[in-house]
Every structure is written in structure tokens, then in C-alpha cells.
Symmetry: C2
Subunit: 568 residues, 2 copies
């Protein structure tokens, strides 16, 4: 699999058109059959692969920042009689397991992002199914706030994965059908075994769609509903659109030189203005450093608008987002990500304060905070071990402290590095308003609440320390960091942690982390990434799906799948 | 794998001793190394296999019914320096996937049953770790209300599955550590990667155990804590102990005769006094019929005590429980269970009424209801498609209606079978008090609440109909049954439903059902069966665990496991 880039822009789209007409945007899926990300399959029937979904993700992001006037988004298809046939089957059948799982994760995140826009950004999504929506196509509609289906005696909604492919719908369909749309579970069961799906009035009665519209009135009704949504949505006011300028991303290889003078150990370095990652394949580690702002936060949002995409918190969110996606997709053998920060904690807290003070009155302030929320959630569901290293000169405060709280484990230096920088100020961490509510995890709790689940006293103590720069002893006592070794033990403890991680079963680590990171309550979102995804991964991997006689391989060949009939 | 029976009794135990001393029982695990259920492994270090756990399950059940005077149960080990080493690794390594998964499911259910006894039966479990508790051994302790660990400089608690075996703890450990004991997630992460575990004061500080007790005071403190629990537990009063007499279970093979006169199609028939199952391997179906009571419910609990284990609701719960376990373990290729009932709905409701009226004042009434609750929960997590057929002469009312509500789909005959029994009364279903609260699912909701998730109006309408015998039209309108075909369509619709089910991927069906059955909120229990189990199944199945170089195979050979380092 060649290197995949997630950076794109409307001018480069091959599969989508984004039309904006005042407060209503229309996002038209019109997949180029020949435009697959990888050779070997044709994207027939508006089916999609990762490349198609990268464009969708980009469009949803740009609608937030570049089109603040938009309050309703109509998602529809540019094809006749077909809305979307879901993920391309030949692509899935030919892909290796890690690719399939990563692809589903990204598509899930994009659909969650659509729901986040409907819920928190005053941009309501309306699925206008002008043809059949099957499998991932219907799941895309499920991520929208409302679903309209054309009534033309042939168009239907369906989840045919189980009967046709021997797998589950991979992007939240089963969870959203019952938990979001409240389709009765026995009807949902029947629906999911009927490959031709359900159409017309029954689709409405069963709550699978909100409305069916006769063909002759289709255009008119969709336009009407779009205007209606736009009228009732509550998008915040604020300044002008912000252009999401091309990310300033550079990749370089560095060669370490061994004692004998030979070049060895190629390391890839990925850099953005405030984020860099040094990839060490030998140790299976990426060291990710986030740099704080270079100056104090501006006094008002006016200056943030003036800075645009270069504004520190937006630039960091974009860089982290791209880096997470890049490493997840392209560097599957780098199993541990080590997070560091460098900079001034007060400046980080200053930016947090400005954005949070304007969260309820300025669309851009809110969008930047929401972007941070989604990016941190992306980290939470990343199948890599996350370790935070908190050293002198770092700035784990407020929004950046979330990186340490998202980590599976954190190490904070007690004191300073006596040999290299004895005069440094010891590292501190600072709890700030950003840690107390605006950046919830998928489980609906803050990372602090999840950390101190069931221990109200410890949570209160940590929250009460907000604003205080806490040195290692206090941070450890308050439970904000895992370990606080001193200079003498530091290198050894960190080395062991990283080496141990690289020695363990990558699969078991993924499972361990997927369970421990989501202590406490579950939501639709965590159910999609936990319960549903885990079952889907298992099913994908079994011979009944992916073996030589499995359903995924048999599909379209005219042969019946051969199943091991044992129930597990 | 030879046939496994779940029926046992203390006189037959090879691995456990049950000592009762007034209100305190002591359950001593003393595994016979040579007593494995299957040849090929020795049960060293108090490790367990399914046979050991069958005895534990039996003991927990008998404590409820045969020892109503017991209010505290001390769970400890008969070995020196070792409490329990968890599931036997050689057994796991040699078992096929379906066996491992089914084994873990049963052990999970038994541990949930221990928690149910602590929570609802006034029998509080205390884990007295007189030696190291590792892996499943510590998970068994986690199922108890309190954990005491001996402080002898060697005994520890640990979850070494990930570092040693490349899998996850399989019986709820990860979920209970954070969600029940509220161990901080980063400490939990560290704990689960440290194969030697944690002991002494740190085990208390991290909340892994409740108390560490010096060796010299061990016996004294355990006795004291046992008496203390017994004193504070609130076991209900009531009549004398009920003996769980040997189940009257018969198994016979029947041979159908084909048109040409040849014997074909061997069918196994399993029968208990009020429950029978006809197994049809050819169609992959078991037809399970539950018969209602033969007479009206007695007027008071006195008569229930007099009837003892023969009392209808207790006898049915025991039979269903045994049947579910038998079919899950021994009949893995029978993927669909069809439920029918036969009898008088009013008599079923009469028994429900008697038990529920005494639920808060009589231990036996409560125990029978709790047993129904657990048995229905066992059905909910069973990896078989469940279909209810509601025909004339059936008695799907109250507790028996739960079987239809637990089903993935139900068919209710509209009218009667005109050819065979035109004068029959049409089938009815009746909502009763048993459907309105006392038999919650693992998600904490009733099956009606789960069914009508997010539709308060439909729920209220169904609940309001309580007491009315509802014919097919009304039952369908109220959403209590999935379909109500008439005589003309009945046979065809049912046949298609069953045949279709048999044609689908068994894995995909398991995943579909595991998601749709648990619409709505998640609890610790559903997280264990959903999120945790699904990840564990996936990990178990991957070559990193079970392949020739996988960690499960490599364990104990001196070789290191060979891992595919790709993160998925």
C-alpha cells in the first residue's frame, strides 16, 4: 500500500461537489468509478473507498470554517437511482485486515463529525436519498439529522452486509438504527437480514427514514426542507470565513550514524509549524512534540480572525489531526506514540481562556474548541499505546494537558536533569478550564472525570487545583500523572516502558487500551467504537468472511460462500 | 470434544469444598490436578477448566437455595501460597476457538451470579486470597464484594494475560478493575502489563484489594470479617432450605422415517418435566417448548416450600438453565433456537403474582425470581438466533412472555390453523407484572423498555395493556410481536425465517444479535459481554495469540512468541 495523504481541497475533489447557496449547502456524492485510491477496483454505484471519504471529511471540515453562513447541509447523490452503495466490496475483499479496520475507524470518525456539526455547530445535515442507500450508504444517511427517501417504487434503504457479505455494517449502522432512530430491535433484525431493504411507507413506519417524497415533488421538497432547517438552526454569529490554507507539512528522512561510521536506522521526521514527530521504526516509537504558542494570546477574537488558520490552537489541531491520520494509516508498525510539549504554560492557558470565553457567542471560537474535542477523541480511539513524558520546559496545561490525560500512562520528571540542565525550572502541569468540561471524551465525561471514575474526592481535589502550576510531587499526589521518577531513574523507567510496550502482543495492547480508556458510561459513540467495532473486527477476520470460501471473497463470483456452521 | 453435562452436586465435587458454619459459608478451591474435564493438561496451581467452574456454579446456586441461613461466603483456596492461577493455559492453548469463547461466557455468567448474590440475595462474597491470585484467579476475586490479600512477602494479585499470553483477561477483569473497583486507568494499565502483579500496601493504595492482612493474623481476621458480613447482610426470612434435587433430564434420539421408508435425520430430544427440546441438526434448529403449570398457583409460599424443587417456576428455570448450557456447549452447529410454549396463561400469571407478592419478604420467592432473571440474561448473551412462535394453545404471558421478548424475532398466528384445529381459541399474549421490572436485562432495562427504547408512548401503551390477553392484531399493533401472519402465510414465513437464518454467516449473526439485543445504555455487565468479550474474541483468534508462533502456544515452551507488529 503506497503512502496515503489526508490533505485535500475542493479544487482537488474527484468524487464530491460542494455547492453553497446562502445558508444551504449541497454536498453531492458523484463518485468517479476510475478514481479509486488504489488500483484493482472500480467505484461503481457511488461506492466509496478511503479516498472518497477523505474528500467527504475535508468538505465537512471546510463547511465549518470556510462557510460560517451555512446552516443546513443537504447530502445527496449525483447519480440516477442510487444514493450510495456503501464501501466498495472489491476494495474490502482485497484489503488486508489492518487496512479495513483503519478505514472503518476513519469513516466512523467522519460520520461522528457530521453528527457533531448538527449538534454543536448549527449546521444540520439532511440526507436526501434520491436513490437506493445500501450498507455504508444508508449508514452515511443515519449520521444525518434527518433522512428523506424518494418514493419511486425502486429506491430503498438497506443494510445488506449480513445476508450478502457475511459481515456487519461497519460504520455504526446497527447502533444508530436502535439507539438513535429507535427502530424496534426485532424490526431492525429483520431489516438487517433483508438484502433488498425497505422502502416507501414501511420505511417511515419502522422509523428507518423520516419522510418519503414522491418523485415529482422531490426537488421542491428537498429545497423546502433545506431552507426550513437553515431557518431553525442556531449557528453562532462572528467574523468572516476562515480559509483552511494548505497545511505546511514537511517530511524528511534522517540517518543516524553508528559508532562505526555507517549510516543506519533511517528515521522519518514529519513537521508542521507547531507539531513534529520523529519516527523510530527500530524501537516502534513515534516521538511527537507539540510546541506552545510563540506569544501571548490575542486580546480578542478579532485578532484570531486576522491570524486565520495560522492561529496557534487551530494550527495545532489541524496538524495533530493530520499527523494522527497519517501515522495510523501509513505507520502501522509504530505501536507507541510518546507525547512531549515545549513552551509556556501560561500562553497555552491564555489561548484556552480566549476561546472558552467566546465559546457561546462566536462561531470560530466554538469551532476551534470543537476541533480540539474531535482531535482528542481521535486520539482516544487510536490503536497505539500513548505515553506522555513531562519534562522541564514543557507546557502540559489546559488543552495540552489533555494529551497527558489521554495517554495510557504518563511520566513526570521529579526535579531536573542534573547533568544537562541543572538550572532549569522543574516541570509543572496545570489544570485549566479546558480540562473541566469543554473537551469531553466519547463517553460524555471529561478525561479528568474518567480518570477519577467513582472517586469524587480525588476529582474534586484535582479540579480545585485548577490554575496552580503543579510540580511532580503534587501532580503525582493528585493523581494527575502516573509516575514521577527523578533524574536517576528517569531514563531507565522510560526506556523500560517503551521497550516493554514494543515487546507485547500488538493485538492485546489494542484490546487493553480500548477497554481501559473508556472506563465508566457508554454512549452511542463509544458503543460504535467499542462493542460494534470489536465484533466487526472479529467477524472480518474469521474465515467465514475473509477466508478463501468466505462471503466477502465469494461476493459477485456467483459462488455461494462456504461457512463453518459452528456458532461461537 | 465429548459431551459435557452441567449437572453436579457437592457429593460429586472434585475441586471444591463447601463448608457451612451457621451464617458463614466457606467455599474452598482445591483443584485436583488430575481432574481435568478433558485429557491433555494438568490443573496445576489451582488453575481451572470448565469442569472446575461447573462445580463453582453449582455451589453458588446451592448456597442460594439449600443454605438460606448463609449470609456471608468466604471464597478461599486449599493450597499453600496460591489462591488461583486462573484458567489453565494448556487447556486454552489446545482448545478450539468456539470452546474458548463458550468457556469464557459461562465463567463470566458465574461471576455475575456471585455479584447478584452479594447485591440481591443478602449473601455477601468475600475473597480471602491466602496466596497469589493471578489472571482468572484475581478476576474471581474481583467478582466478590471485598478482597483480602495475605501479606507474606510473596502473595500478589496480577493480570498477567497481556504480558505472558498475548491475550486479555477473559472474565471481566479489565472492566471490573476500573468500573467496579475504580482503579485509576493509568495505574490499571501499568498493573496489567506487570506479570508479577502488585502486593502489600500498594495493592490497597491502588484499590486492587481492600485489605492486606499479616500472615499471623490471617485466620483470625478472615473469621472476623466473615462474621461481620454475616451480621450486616440482609438476607430475607422465609421457610426452610430447598434441596436442588437431581434434575430429571432424559435424552433420546428419534429417527424420522423418509418417504421411501429409510431411517434418516437423527434428531436428539432433551426432556425435563416442563421443558423439552427437539434438535434438528439438518435444519440447524432446536425447537424448545416450555409447558405451563399443570394447576393453579398455590395460595401461599408455604405450598411452594412444600413443592420444593418441583415447584413449576423453579423447575422451569432449572431446566431452561441446564438446557441453554447444554446446547451452547454441545450443539454448536444448531444456530437457531425456536421457542414455543403450551399451557394456560392465567396459571403462569398466577405463579408470577405469588412470587412477586413475596419478593420483598420471602427468600425463596426472591431466589426463584432472581433465578429467572439470570436464566433470561443467559439467553440474552447466547450466540444463537432466537425466534418465538406464538400459536393457539400457547401461554406467552408474564415470565414466559419474556422468552418472546428476548427473541430476535417473533411470529404470532393471526387466527387459527383452519385445517388442523379450526375451533381452537386464537393465541394471545399477556403483559404481566413480571414484564414491568423484576426481570431486567444486563443493560438495567426491562425487555419491554429495551424494545421500545426512545419511544415512551409505545412503552406506555404496552404497559397499560398489562393483564389483557392480546390477540395477534392487538399484539402486533402494540409492537409486542414482530409479525402476525395468518394461517395461509404462516408455514411459509416461518420456514423462510428459519432457513434464511441457517444460510447466513454464523459469525455475522452472532455480531448482529450481540448489538441489537443491547440497545440503549450499557452497564458493567453488558460491557463485559459486549466491548470486552468482543475484543477478547478477536485477540484470541489472531495469529499473535493462537497461531503457531503465537503467545498462547509459546507459553511455557521457553520460546518467545513471534508477533506481527502491525497495530490494527
Amino acid at each position: 500500500m503506497s503512502h496515503v495523504e489526508f490533505r485535500t481541497s475542493p479544487a482537488q475533489y474527484r468524487h464530491w461537489r460542494l455547492d453553497v447557496d446562502g445558508p444551504v449547502a449541497t454536498l453531492v456524492m458523484d463518485v468517479d468509478e476510475q478514481g479509486g485510491l488504489v488500483p484493482g477496483y472500480e467505484l461503481k454505484l457511488n461506492s466509496y473507498d478511503l479516498g472518497v471519504d477523505i474528500e467527504l471529511y475535508d468538505a465537512v471540515q471546510r463547511l465549518r470554517f470556510e462557510h460560517p453562513e451555512v446552516k443546513a447541509v443537504v447530502l445527496t447523490s449525483g447519480k440516477e437511482k442510487i444514493f450510495c452503495a456503501g464501501a466498495n466490496i472489491r476494495m474490502l475483499a482485497a484489503s488486508e485486515h489492518a487496512w479495513k479496520v483503519n478505514f472503518c475507524k476513519f469513516t466512523n470518525e467522519t460520520r461522528n463529525g457530521i453528527e457533531d456539526a448538527s449538534e454543536n455547530s448549527g449546521q444540520t445535515y439532511l440526507a436526501a436519498l434520491n436513490g437506493t442507500a445500501s450498507g455504508g450508504g444508508y449508514e452515511l444517511a443515519l449520521a444525518c439529522d434527518k433522512i428523506l427517501l424518494i418514493d419511486d417504487r425502486s429506491s430503498a434503504v438497506s443494510l445488506p452486509e449480513l445476508p450478502l457479505l457475511g459481515v456487519l455494517p461497519g460504520t455504526g449502522g446497527l447502533t444508530r438504527v436502535t439507539d438513535k432512530r429507535h427502530v424496534r430491535r426485532d424490526l431492525a433484525d429483520y431489516f438487517s437480514t433483508k438484502s433488498e431493504g425497505i422502502s416507501g411507507k414501511k420505511a417511515v413506519q419502522w422509523k428507518l427514514v423520516d419522510e418519503v417524497v414522491p418523485r415529482v415533488r422531490w426537488q421542491e421538497v428537498i429545497a423546502e426542507r433545506g431552507r426550513g432547517y437553515a431557518g431553525s438552526a442556531s449557528r453562532l454569529p462572528g467574523g468572516p470565513a476562515i480559509e483552511l490554507t494548505p497545511l505546511d507539512k514537511t517530511t524528511a528522512n534522517s540517518w543516524a550514524t553508528s559508532v562505526s561510521g555507517e549510516e543506519c536506522d533511517v528515521k522519518r521526521q514529519v513537521s508542521y509549524p507547531h507539531v513534529s514527530a520523529l519516527l523510530d521504526p527500530g524501537r516502534g516509537v513515534a516521538e511527537i512534540t507539540v510546541t506552545g504558542p510563540q506569544e501571548d494570546a490575542p486580546a480578542s477574537m478579532d485578532d484570531v480572525y486576522a491570524q486565520g488558520a495560522a492561529c496557534w490552537p487551530l494550527a495545532v489541531a489541524r496538524a495533530l489531526d493530520d499527523l494522527i491520520l497519517d501515522l495510523r494509516t501509513n505507520e502501522t508498525e509504530i505501536g507507541t506514540w510518546v507525547f512531549k510539549t515545549a513552551g509556556d504554560a501560561a500562553q497555552v492557558l491564555g489561548y484556552d481562556e480566549l476561546l472558552l470565553a467566546n465559546y457561546d457567542r462566536d462561531w470560530l471560537a466554538r469551532e476551534i474548541v470543537l476541533y480540539w474535542k474531535r482531535t482528542l477523541k481521535r486520539l482516544d480511539v487510536t490503536s497505539r499505546s500513548l505515553i506522555a513524558l513531562i519534562e522541564p520546559g514543557s507546557c502540559f496545561a489546559g488543552s495540552l494537558l489533555e494529551l497527558a490525560l489521554a495517554a495510557d500512562r504518563s511520566y513526570m520528571l521529579f526535579g531536573v536533569f542534573e547533568d544537562t540542565d541543572p538550572d532549569a525550572a522543574p516541570a509543572t502541569v496545570t489544570v485549566g478550564p479546558a480540562n473541566l468540561g469543554p473537551l469531553p471524551m466519547g463517553n460524555g465525561l471529561t478525561r479528568l472525570q474518567t480518570r477519577f471514575l467513582g472517586d469524587a474526592g480525588a476529582l474534586a481535589a484535582a479540579e480545585k487545583a485548577a490554575g496552580d502550576p503543579l510540580e511532580a510531587e503534587d501532580a503525582e499526589r493528585l493523581g494527575l500523572v502516573t509516575f514521577a521518577p527523578d533524574d536517576i531513574d528517569w531514563a531507565e523507567e522510560v526506556r523500560i516502558a517503551v521497550e516493554e510496550r514494543a515487546s507485547f502482543s500488538p493485538d492485546a495492547l489494542t484490546g487493553l487500551e480500548a477497554n481501559y480508556r473508556f472506563a465508566g458510561p457508554e454512549t452511542m459513540e463509544t458503543k460504535i467504537f467499542g462493542r460494534l467495532t470489536a465484533w466487526q473486527n472479529w467477524i472480518f477476520y474469521r474465515p467465514n468472511a475473509s477466508g478463501p470460501d468466505g462471503a466477502l471473497r465469494a461476493y459477485g463470483t456467483g459462488k455461494r460462500a462456504g461457512f463453518d456452521r459452528k456458532r461461537v
